[in-house]
Amino acid sequence: MFSTQIRDVDDFNPRRRRTLWNTPAASMLTTTTHTIRYPTSRKGHASAHQLSAKFEDLYGFMVEGNVDDVNVLNDVREKIREQGRVWWAVEASKGANWYLQPRISSNGGEGVISVTSLKLSVLTNTITLRRLIRKGVPPVLRPKVWLSVSGAAKKRSTVPETYYDELIRATEGKTTPATLQIDHDLPRTFPCHPWLNSEDGQAALRRVLVGYSFRDSEVGYCQGLNYVAALLLLVMKTEEDAFWMLAVLLENVLVNDCYTDNLSGCHVEQRVFKDLLAKKCPRIAAHLEAMGFDVSLVATEWFLCLFSKTLPSETTLRVWDVLFNEGAKVLFHVALAIFKMREEDLLRIQHIGDVIDILQTTAHHLYDPDEFLTFAFDKIGSMTTNTITKERKKQETVVMAELDQRIRRLSSLKMDG
């Protein structure tokens, strides 16, 4: 059962089970590692708004923000407490760890509960969970909920308990192109975060990334995964859990080949995104196209880092809550929403630099996850996974042909040279 797969902290192996870092006590919620810049429209405001302060957020990032930002962050912190109370209330009525078993098998109820009523309870739980997750998983519950809903716990249950330790042991002392690149990137991964910047933090991040590069040699290591794994470590608290979340993300949640070889999966997602932008925000798409602005210029990083370098941390994690429960289509919702919420401004802009500026400034300031996610779902409208899958299939052929052509052209160059 699920409960046995969620491992206890008093287990014998300290490295694997140890809590890696502690949440700062005086935490302020929501974060970004970027220096906050004020949107153009606010430039003329009174100096009180310009006063900036530095503080540590719930996930240990140093954040710099003005008075307005601090206020929004405090509201968000209060909302998280409220949301925590909602989760406890549901737990009180449904029983502890109810969310770990959204898909109950029918054999347990045979003879006692009818199959129909059992299915109904499963359905109710699934719906309740989906609704709750969209409103946010409380940080303290994230590790358990993510492991369960993403399928990471199930994935782990198919291998021996010692899998991770043995994998790490097997990688010790080995040098590969992946480990060289990982070593190069460790100090360059959220260098502003105190734990990630520490020896312990970098060692843990290294083990997760190197371990994964040995698990899947086709992916090996791709830049961008360092940010994803780092944030996973901060949320999951133990490196083995972070490792399994990375595995389920790359193997089940995201489209195939996002990070392999020539990033073909990433190219596919970008094409799907362009197509969706044309459908959902036709005016923006037409305007940007007329300007010669390729939306992938800005959206590639969003999809590869899953917004971890773009959005404030709590907002990113709220996106990930939905990502792990509902799948990769949430990434399209979020990317479209960033464009859509500045539609009028974007339509007025004539310079590529200004487009990027407005999108990035907007994204960096999305401190209120509730407001943003409501917009991303309600204003963008529904997209079924089915439609997206079909669109991906269509684009896959085009992308493969394009990448193939590029390789052929480049290899003919080498022969000439």
Binding site: H34, P191, Q223, N226, S296, T300, G353, I356, R409, L410
Partner: protein, 203 residues
């Protein structure tokens, strides 16, 4: 660097290409913000910056694309060098493999890019003389053969960083008619714009 109001601003797309860790982002950061940090966040996809430079009585506004260096990201590169007025191909003078990689970028630009793109070759980390592996003569000869202009730079000590961008700006202004949008140079008149201002979006 002061420029007169009413001065014409030329927008020029510039792309930085080169091996991972050659110091592309550091060069940009030095040029745009005058800063150097030992551990620059790794670039994913590409980061965008803009910086304005006055050359005599004209002004070039660089729209800079700083691309990711890892090999698998190279399939994204055409998106960034397409329509670029200028490119800086960066290698690390202490790393011969990065010089080989730089030559491949030059080759790709010559074959796929716009023929009028101004291409500069930058041998970065020029402050690390004791560990130099790529000789200056070798790079110079290569640059001459390929009609690139070449400088050794150091983002750390700022040597030649502004100079390489200044030289590019000069060549852009000399070499290209402003009316030619194909070359990535767009003539715009924005008299009220604050000149020599930098904005950056290091994402």
């Amino acid at each position: 660097m002061a420029a007169n109001a009413g001065n014409k601003i030329r927008n020029a797309k510039l792309v930085l290409l080169g091996d991972v860790g050659a110091g592309k982002s550091s060069l940009v950061l030095r040029f745009v913000k005058g800063q150097f940090v030992e551990f620059q966040e790794s670039t994913i996809g590409a980061a965008f910056f803009s910086q304005t430079l006055a050359v005599n009585d004209e002004t070039v506004k660089f729209e800079i694309w700083d691309t990711a260096g890892q090999e698998r990201y190279h399939s994204l590169a055409p998106m960034y060098y397409r329509g670029a007025a200028a490119a800086i191909v960066v290698y690390d003078i202490t790393n011969p493999a990065s010089f080989t990689r730089a030559k491949k970028w030059v080759q790709e630009l010559q074959a796929q890019g716009n023929p009028s793109t101004v291409v500069a070759l930058a041998g970065n980390k020029a402050d690390l003389l004791e560990t130099r592996k790529v000789q200056i003569e070798e790079a110079k000869t290569y640059a001459q053969e390929n009609r690139l202009f070449f400088m050794e730079t150091s983002a750390k000590t700022a040597i030649n960083v502004n100079d390489i961008f200044y030289e590019i700006a000069k060549r852009l202004l000399q070499g290209q008619p402003a009316q030619n949008p194909q070359a990535g140079m767009v003539l715009t008149q924005r008299p009220n714009e604050r000149l020599v201002s930098a904005s950056s979006c290091c994402s």
